[in-house]
């Protein structure tokens, strides 16, 4: 018994060695590196007298993930740790990595790197925003504008709030599809030339679409107040239907259409429909 087991062990060991040799002999041939150039906007507030400039990095696409964010993280970890950008979820849902890639605003984590090695990829921060550092814009104005439209449900009688859910019919809930999915990444607002020239007074597509989302919510009763707050020449009417916003949206939403619907409500051309189901039952 012993001799048989020992023979079996020896044989199996020799077999494994043969297999290993075969694998090593058939090793993959060296793959030619695919070098892609990334021209990234850089500006450092801590360096006095620094002017914004483009810095070019070279990345081997064979050792990098397919998305622009993968390349930026690779550059930061292997080539230049001072490269600064916002990022979080890496799956296109948080909106942190919004930037201008190849001339169009999008999320870096869901933008595929163009594999054409002849042309460099140009990466800039969101257009016409104050730059905090490198690819990080100052979003405080954007958030303040979002706050100003009061993005919460408002009812005339809020004494019993939280006791029961407010009812909403399926049809009324479908009106919110395409509006509630906004992740407030600011790609649309910063693609709008009107918002570039008037970002202090014009609210921008992202904020206006959310204003519309609350206006047409059947459970909301403050529609008249919401509309009255927008009755000036700048908040809504700087929109000239350029439609850059809808083209830029990385989630496939349509802010341009929402703004047109707000204009129709403001002019009295359409009225908000009565809720199909009474929210307080």
């Amino acid at each position: 018994m012993d001799s048989i087991t020992s023979k079996a062990v020896v044989l199996s060991r020799q077999y494994m060695q043969l297999r290993n040799l075969a694998t090593v002999a058939a090793a993959k041939p060296a793959v030619a590196p695919r070098i892609k150039k990334f021209a990234v906007y850089r500006w450092n507030p801590d360096i006095s007298g620094d002017k914004p400039h483009l810095q070019t990095y070279e990345v081997d696409l064979n050792t990098c993930g397919p998305m622009v964010l993968d390349a930026l993280i690779k550059i930061k970890s292997e080539i230049d740790p001072t490269l600064t950008f916002r990022r979080s979820c890496r799956e296109g849902i948080c909106g942190s990595c919004a930037m201008n890639i190849g001339g169009c605003n999008s999320l870096a984590c869901i933008s595929k790197i163009d594999t054409n090695l002849e042309k460099p990829v140009k990466i800039h921060p969101l257009p016409h925003m104050y730059v905090v550092k490198d690819l990080v814009p100052d979003m405080s104005n954007f958030y303040a504008q979002y706050k100003s439209i009061q993005p919460w449900l408002q009812r005339k009688d809020e004494s019993k709030m939280g006791q029961k859910q407010y009812l909403q019919s399926v049809e009324d809930r479908q009106k919110l599809d395409g509006l509630y999915e906004c992740i407030l990444c600011a790609c649309c607002s910063t693609s709008c030339p009107s918002y570039w020239w008037n970002s202090d007074k014009y609210l921008g597509p992202a904020v206006l679409m959310q204003a519309y989302r609350w206006m047409i919510d059947s459970r909301d009763e403050a529609t008249k107040d919401r509309l009255d707050r927008l009755r000036d020449p700048f908040s809504v009417f700087r929109c000239h239907t350029i439609m850059n916003c809808t083209k830029a949206c990385p989630k496939g939403l349509n802010p341009g259409k929402a703004i047109a619907e707000i204009k129709k409500l403001l002019s009295g051309f359409t009225k908000k429909e009565e809720p199909k189901l009474n929210p307080i039952g």
Partner: protein
């Protein structure tokens, strides 16, 4: 009687709490006092009263590039042409009005001068130059009215109506030139 019972109960509770070695967490607002106003905190107030513009100017932050980097797309192009043709028509009317007021001779005289110069195709070019802003602005204006009514506000809709507008504008301009 009930009050006495409450005092005794509270007293007992206080004794138990004092005896307990672990500090128990008392919520500041209990369920019975729930209401938005009582929880209103000043968390949303900014730390300073500094304005957004002032802060960014103080920190001398640059503004990120816009026109120089943004990809020039068809919808942007047609929109800016709409603005330029509108301004061009405005300019023509101003020119016509000012010319009529200041220049000595009448319009047919100046037209005759231009024709007499015998530069090939110049009259035709001038006619196209005047007709195209009018025709383009008119047809694109109709597209704007369609948009204001809420129709065709999708990426495909904008693109297809854009082609229709361009074709119709050129056709109308050529027709007006031929008159």
């Amino acid at each position: 009687m009930a009050l006495l019972r409450t005092i005794i109960k509270n007293g007992t509770q206080a004794k138990l709490l004092a005896a307990a070695p672990v500090k128990s967490w008392q919520p500041a607002v209990t369920a019975s006092t729930f209401g938005m106003k009582s929880i209103e905190a000043n968390r949303t107030k900014p730390l300073t009263n500094e304005n957004f513009e002032d802060k960014n100017k103080r920190l001398q932050r640059p503004i990120s590039p816009h026109l120089t980097v943004y990809k020039f797309q068809s919808n942007m192009a047609l929109s800016i042409i709409h603005r330029f043709t509108g301004l061009a028509q405005n300019g023509f009317i101003y020119g016509l009005a000012l010319g009529a007021m200041t220049l000595p001779a009448s319009f047919p005289y100046y037209l005759g001068l231009l024709e007499a110069a015998h530069i090939p195709l110049v009259v035709l070019a001038v006619k196209v130059l005047i007709a195209f802003p009018f025709s383009y602005h008119l047809v694109n204006g109709i597209r704007h009215l369609v948009w204001d009514a809420g129709y065709s506000l999708t990426i495909k809709g904008v693109e297809s109506t854009g082609y229709i507008v361009l074709a119709a504008a050129i056709a109308l301009a050529l027709y007006l030139t031929s008159l």
